[in-house]
């Protein structure tokens, strides 16, 4: 099943972990330098192309 564009309402965020870089960064995820995506299939394509793993965050506001 092809995944649809996931609803931004749940603030699903996907980024690609830079191998080795996170160990030296002093700042945390979610700041301006992080390139978050919201389309899961697009993120998978980029991950395949770059060889990087995915970091997927679910945020739900009550």
């Amino acid at each position: 099943m092809k995944a649809r564009h996931l609803q931004p309402g749940i603030a699903l965020s996907i980024t690609l972990i830079l191998a080795g870089a996170m160990a030296t960064h002093a700042h945390g995820v979610g700041q301006d330098q992080t390139n978050w995506l919201t389309d899961y299939e697009q993120a998978r394509k980029v991950a395949r192309a770059t060889g990087k793993p995915l970091f997927i965050v679910f945020r739900c506001q009550h």
Partner: protein
């Protein structure tokens, strides 16, 4: 949660934040997140996230050098539940709705049991307290606990719980979530460079925790029909109540059943059926849901203008 594969992104859906590390081929490397009843983020830290990320990267390097992709995970989405199908097409489906819809489906099939509520048990339930900044590091082991009996000690580094590789609290909870209601949970850990293995022998009821914080609990019946804020320590003292005793004001909004029973705004609820309860107002809501059924007749023990008063009420269902 529309379109999300719940078989892949299988997590505690009452959380407000949950993270996953995985490959492009959906090989799951690890998880991050988790909370307890005391706060939404007390179990998380940036150092802990980095620790989990480092483990995920190490796994990625190791696995991506090995071979082909793992087979795709069978897809299950929240839209497959009848309750989701009744919602308007553009209506938001929140994370906690997964639990709500799943419960309704099980209730409809007469398969739902109260034990379904004890999801994502804490490592403390088996006697382990983990380091927030290194989610696989044992901070302490409770005396006479399954973890103590298995031989775990403070400083040990967990490797896997019930077959789930562990680098974070979320990983440990995922392993415990998939563990039996009673019986054996395999566990491995490193100590002084050696890999050790044993079993956690868990008794019936080990999964129970304080679930009063769970948003998905709100839809479970019966409702208590009384709601409000806890009294402060000072307010309790003035009324001669113990520090830990249940005591909350009935708030501005009075439910119809409460009003009809004669409960008034600012009544102080201090007990139920004469039981001396030591809990917060939030925990009281969970207590009613866990210990009473629809149609039960209960007696609320109140204080009104300093006078003791008992008011009876029937725990009726919410209107459809």
């Amino acid at each position: 949660m529309r379109g999300v594969n719940l078989n892949l992104f299988d997590f505690d859906y009452d959380l407000t934040w949950a993270g996953f590390f995985l490959s492009a081929n959906e090989q799951m490397y690890g998880r991050y997140g988790g909370r307890d009843a005391s706060s939404a983020d007390g179990q998380m830290s940036l150092a802990g996230l980095r620790h989990a990320m480092a483990a995920a990267l190490a796994t990625h390097r190791r696995i991506s050098n090995i071979g082909p992709a793992s087979p795709p995970t069978a897809v299950q989405t929240v839209e497959q539940y009848p309750a989701a199908q009744r919602r308007q097409a553009d209506a938001c489906i929140h994370c906690h709705h997964v639990y709500d819809f799943r419960r309704e489906a099980l209730q409809t099939a007469a398969k739902w049991r109260l034990d379904e509520l004890w999801v994502y048990p804490f490592p403390e339930n088996v006697g382990l307290t983990l380091d927030v900044d290194e989610g696989d590091r044992v901070k302490s082991v409770a005396d006479n606990s399954p973890a103590a009996a298995a031989g775990l000690r403070a400083g040990d580094c967990l490797q896997a719980v019930n077959g789930v590789p562990t680098a974070s609290l979320a990983d440990v909870q995922y392993g415990l979530q998939r563990s039996p209601a009673q019986g054996i949970i395999p566990i491995t850990w490193m100590r002084a460079g050696k890999m050790l293995a044993s079993n956690l022998d868990v008794p019936s009821g080990w999964r129970k925790t304080d679930i009063s914080w769970r948003w998905s609990l709100r839809g479970l019946e019966p409702s208590s029909w009384v709601h409000g804020d806890d009294l402060t320590s000072e307010e309790k003292k003035k009324l001669g109540l113990g520090e830990r005793q249940l005591a909350f004001f009935q708030g501005n909004f009075l439910s119809i059943p409460a009003r009809q029973a004669g409960i008034r705004q600012n009544d102080v609820i201090i007990g139920l059926d004469g039981k001396k309860l030591e809990m917060t107002a939030q925990q009281f809501q969970a207590f009613v849901k866990l210990n009473y059924k629809l149609g039960d007749h209960v007696t609320y023990n109140l204080l009104r203008a300093g006078m003791r008063l008992d008011v009876s009420l029937t725990l009726i269902g919410r209107p459809p």
